[in-house]
Each structure stands twice: as C-alpha cells, then as structure tokens.
C-alpha cells in the first residue's frame, strides 16, 4: 500500500506495462524529459529511454498517424494528446482511420493502441482547454472509451487498455490529477467494460463518470441525510458499456440520475437514458433526470466555471427536488 496521486498513477500504470511488454512504446509532446505538462509521465524517459519514450513536434496528426501505423505493424503504442480538446486537430486519424480500419479490412488489421488525454474542466483553463469529450469518442464505432476516477483504477484500467487489442481512448479527468488515495503494491490489472457500484441504496441510482464520481458520492452522503438513499455507479468504461450492471442497479431503485461533466446534448447520459427507457421501461418509477454542464462552452473565470460544472450542491438539489415531487 502506498499513497499515490492520480497523476502518479498514470506513470505507474504505463511503467508497469512497459516493463512487461517490450512492444509498448509511448509518444507525445513534452512527455519525455519534461515528464508531461500534467507531470503524469515523470520518470518514464529515465527508465525506458528515448527510443521507447519519444517527444514529438506539435503535430497531433503525425502523433496519432504514427501510433496507428505502428500498431498495425506489431507495436503497442501509447500516444498522448495533451488536452482532450486537441483531439479536434487530429480527429480524422481517430474516427476515420483508427476506428474504421479493422472493420473496412474485414479484420485484416488490429490496432492495439491507447490514446490518453487530459480531459475536462475545473482548472480554469477556459473553453479550449477544459471540455469533456468522452462523448465525441463514444459516438464513434470502433473506439473503446475508458474514464477512470481513482488512482487505483487509473493503473488497472491503463493496464487493461494497453493489453486490449482494440484502440482505447483513455481520458484522465484533469480535475482529479491531484487527488490521492492508497493504492496496493504490485501489479494491478483491471477489466474494461465493467462499471463499479460504489454505494448501494434503495431510492435512486446516480450514475457518474470521471471527475463527477467523487461529487456523486458526496451528494449521495448528503442525500442520505435527507432520507434519500442512493446507489452510486461509476461507469468507468463507456465502450464497452457495462449495461448489465447499470440496468440491474437502475431497475433496483426505479430511478436514474446521470451526473455528466459534458455539455448536455448527445451526452452518454442521454444514451444511457435511451437504453433504460427501451429495455427496462416498466421498472422505472419516475422521470430520468440528467445533471450536466449546461449546453455552453466552458467559461474561464473560477466563479463561472464552478457554476457551469455540476456541483455536489446541484446534484443534491436536483435529486431531492425530483424525488420529492
């Protein structure tokens, strides 16, 4: 057991897999000597050397193109896109090339690669460095999408993502980089496509992702004080989506609340809502309510950003209002 921050867990997860498998390579901007702009990759260059851990120019298409070409010819690349907003400059490589090529070639090619990126708000970085893009990726057939919420999950899901033969978009909530928890020693390997039930309740099910998970947990505590007993599920993996766990937990309480950092339209919560009202409609006891960032670009000022992203308070108010109406 050691106390580990979320950012340290990144490096530990990557190192664990690079030690195990020589074909794992890592490329991105400022990931080497600098240890990453979020200090998530400190020590990797030193341990694995400049051939396996390589700094690149500011050329995101080249970074992901290189990762794709390397993956199809036997390497297992990890590529960093520094801020998830920057996916927009290399989106073609992700959605048209990496995601589709296995299918188009009728399975001739496999793309065992991981693209990791700092996702979401909370650091007052403004609209071009704060958005939560998990749904951009979830929307695209052929991509797996993983979003951990604790240091331990970072390691385990990173390992699972690197070992997975399919392309994984691995989104790290920037707001969580400094969080710290105890993490067991030794190898940690988790399973993609598994949601985690963090709290069991009988009145309502809160489903959250990434930086919203600790907020949902806190909100559940406060709600318990108000007599509303909530289940909290951490989705962890949008694709594959653990619908077994999710539908079971939602059925059990009859009420679903999603807590999403993304702006509202076409968020994963909408997808989940539609699955629920298609498959377990008759188990529902009341409206499905989504708690999201409003459908606006994220503002920079601290006061404004705090208003925009779902807060514990907003979760509590929304749930209690809906449960009591």
């Amino acid at each position: 057991m050691a106390q580990l921050t979320f950012r340290e867990a990144i490096a530990r997860g990557i190192a664990q897999e690079m030690r195990r498998d020589e074909s794992v390579v890592f490329l991105g901007e400022d990931i080497g000597a600098a240890g990453g702009v979020f200090k998530g990759t400190v020590g990797l260059l030193e341990e694995f050397g400049g051939v396996r851990v390589r700094d690149t120019p500011i050329s995101e298409q080249a970074i992901l193109g290189a990762a794709m070409g390397a993956a199809m010819t036997g390497l297992k690349p990890i590529a960093e896109i520094m801020f998830a907003d920057f996916f927009a400059v290399c989106w073609d490589i992700v959605v048209n090339e990496i995601a589709k090529s296995r299918y188009m070639t009728n399975g001739q090619m496999t793309f065992p690669l991981v693209i990791r990126s700092g996702n979401g708000g909370g650091l007052r970085f403004g609209a071009q460095h704060s958005q939560s893009v998990e749904n951009w990726a979830m929307m695209v057939p052929g991509l797996k999408v993983v979003v951990p919420s604790t240091p331990e999950d970072v390691i385990g899901l990173m390992a699972a993502s690197i070992r997975d033969p399919d392309p994984v978009i691995f989104l790290e909530a920037k707001a969580l980089y400094s969080t710290k928890t105890d993490v067991p020693d030794g190898e940690i390997v988790d399973t993609l496509g598994t949601a985690k039930v963090l709290r069991s309740g009988s009145n309502a099910t809160l489903v959250a992702l990434g930086a919203m998970v600790p907020k949902a947990l806190k909100a559940a505590e406060e709600l318990a004080g108000q007599g509303i007993d909530c289940t909290v599920v951490d989705v962890r993996s949008l694709v594959p989506l653990d619908t077994q766990t999710l539908l079971r937990e939602i059925s059990a309480t009859g009420r679903l609340f999603t807590v999403e950092e993304n702006p509202r339209l076409c968020g994963w919560g909408g997808e989940l809502s539609s699955i629920v009202s298609e498959e377990i409609f008759y188990d529902l006891d009341g409206p499905i309510v989504r708690i999201t960032t409003p459908h606006i670009p994220l503002p920079a000022a601290d006061a404004l950003e705090d208003m925009a992203i779902p807060s514990v308070e907003r979760i509590v108010t929304t749930v209690s209002k809906s449960m009591n109406s």
Binding site: A62, D92, N106, Q108, P240
Partner: protein, 335 residues
C-alpha cells in the same frame, strides 16, 4: 530538378518484361473494371489509374515483399502491383463476399496485409502520417522494412502532408513518399490552388529533403529513383519524397468524363502513354513481338478468369456485416 544516382543495378530484360506485364495487368484490369461499371456491376465509386501505371509498377518492382504500400482511393494499381491476385480485388469492386475485404471496404480501401498492402485511404493526407508509423515500427524493431506512401498532387496542400514530412525527417524514418502529379485534383487544376509549380518537389527543402522529380510515364525511370530512395531508407538514411509527373487518361472517378481538361492536353498525354512507350523500348532492347503478344494474351486470360471468379462470388450476409468491428471478431459495444 535534381535526380539522384541510384545505388542499384539496372534491370535486365527479363525483369523489364515482368515490369511490362505488371503495367499491362493494371491497364487491362482497370479497363475491365470500367466495363463492368458500365454494366452496373461495379457499385459505388471507383477511381482509375489508367495512364499512371508506370508509377505503381515501377515502384513495386523496387520493393521487397516485406515492404509496405500505403495507397489512396485510387489504389487498384498499387494493390495489384504488389502481387495481390485480381479476383479478390475485382470481387471487392463488385461488393461480393469473395472480395479482398468481403465487400466491407470497397474500391477505395483495398488492403492485403499478406502482400504488404497496408490499406488504401480515402481521406486526403491521412495515410502519410500512418505510413510514418509503420516506418517507425520497422526502425524500432530493427527490420529492414520500408514504407512507401503514394498520394496525388492535390494532396500536398493538406495539413497532414506537412506534419508527416516533418515527422519522417526528424525521426529519419524509412519511408518513401511518392507524389503522383497528374496535374489535376478532382476537377480543378492543382497549380491553380498551389503556391508552387511542383507541389511536392518544390517543398522538399522545407523538410530538409532533396528535391526529386521523375518522369512518371517511364517505368524504368520510376524504378530507378524508387530503388535509390528505398535503398537509402533501408540503409537508415531517412525519408525521401519523389514527385512523378503523369496524367490520368480518364476522369477523376467512374462517373466523370473529365471534360474540364483541354483536348490538347489530353492528346499530348495520351501520346506519352507509358505502355506503348515501354513496348517500343522492349523491342529496342531485343524483346520479340511474340514475347510481348504472349504477355498480353496471358494478362487477358488473367483478367477474364478474374472476371468470371469475381462474378461468381456470393452476396455478403449479415454475419459479415456485424463482424470485426473489434478484435474479438464481433461488434458488441456492451457487456
């Protein structure tokens, strides 16, 4: 215009006969594909390389079987030139289950990993960085493989071109970029929207590369510059970019008659058709008419057979539809 001295020995007559055969095979195959489009057997779109065969054939002749080709939507020629049989390629154009990708890719995405054809890419520019990735992998693993990446003149104005060239140069990757300058984008003349006359060669210096231009309608000349560039790449001397001037005889895609081009320009280039030209050269070098006729017959037989086999292919079914989104062979996004 700089040409480099090839570090390679010239081809002997047998090799040149093989190169002739390849060019003919590409030509006849695509003519057949066009006929079958007119019969409404080829669905969707397709883009022919008629007139440009010397490039695909010449470069392929300079490659080892373990090398990699990255092609575009105009990739029939590049695929066949690497030895992929005609039947699955034609069947793919027909959308049959015996197609190269069982109909799931179509004309624009021909891929045969077995033959080193690492995909055909239909979004302009994307495959340049991807080819860099394969080259990086060869470099990393210490194999002597080289990635060859074909693209058109119009593709030199897109961002990915720039990123890939710089990336290849700084990492000294074993990749050879081949720009097939056929003067036209779809319906727009490339020089009208490009700041330099030779869209690839005039930009080589921006990546610290030598400017290499070659007559793309001369398979021997193409072979020589390609062999030299590939040898450099294999020797760890980094990337090259070759600009090969050529012309497509037909329109951009199957439905385009290409009427926007001046008749005189088309006529000029038809006169430079690489295939009759190579035919004449072979006779000069001592090949016999009989030899050449036999090659031609042989190719026709191959095309005819492929036509029959392709047509005999089945219609792909739902099993194929839902197959191979993921490496587990399936398409489920949920647990």
């Amino acid at each position: 215009m700089t040409t480099t001295t090839p570090a390679v020995s010239p081809m002997d007559l047998d090799e040149k006969l093989a190169l002739y055969r390849t060019q003919l095979a590409l030509r006849f195959f695509e003519q057949r594909a066009y006929d079958m489009f007119l019969e409404n057997l080829v669905k969707g779109t397709s883009h022919l390389s008629l007139g440009q065969e010397a490039i695909a054939a010449g470069v392929a002749a300079a490659m080892k079987p373990t090398d990699w080709t990255f092609a575009t939507y105009r990739g029939h020629a590049h695929t066949l030139a690497r030895g992929v049989p005609m039947t699955p390629v034609l069947a793919e154009l027909l959308g049959r289950s015996n197609g190269l990708m069982a109909g799931k890719g179509g004309s624009m995405h021909l891929t045969s990993v077995e033959h080193g054809v690492m995909g055909s890419y239909a979004i302009i520019g994307a495959h340049l960085p991807i080819a860099c990735g394969a080259a990086w992998s060869a470099q990393f693993r210490g194999t002597d493989q080289v990635a060859v990446c074909f693209f058109g003149d119009g593709s030199t104005n897109i961002g990915a071109f720039h990123e890939a060239l710089n990336f290849a140069a700084i990492w000294k990757l074993p990749v050879v970029f081949v720009c097939e300058n056929n003067l036209w984008m779809e319906y727009t003349r490339t020089t009208e929207v490009t700041a330099v006359e030779n869209p690839a060669a005039d930009r080589a210096s921006a990546y610290g590369l030598e400017s290499i231009m070659v007559d793309g309608n001369d398979a021997d000349a193409v072979y020589e510059v390609a062999a030299a560039a590939i040898a450099r790449a294999r020797a760890g001397e980094g990337p090259s970019m070759i600009e090969a001037k050529t012309y497509r005889h037909g329109g951009h895609s199957r439905a385009d008659p290409g009427k926007y081009r001046p008749d005189s320009e088309v006529a000029e280039w038809l006169a430079k058709d690489p295939i009759p030209r190579y035919h004449t050269r072979l006779l000069e070098l001592g090949a016999t008419e009989d030899q050449l006729v036999e090659i031609e017959r042989d190719v026709v037989r191959e095309v005819d057979l492929a036509t029959e086999e392709a047509k005999a292919g089945g219609v792909p079914g739902e099993d194929l539809l839902m197959k191979d989104v993921w490496a587990d062979g399936g398409s489920s996004w949920r647990n």
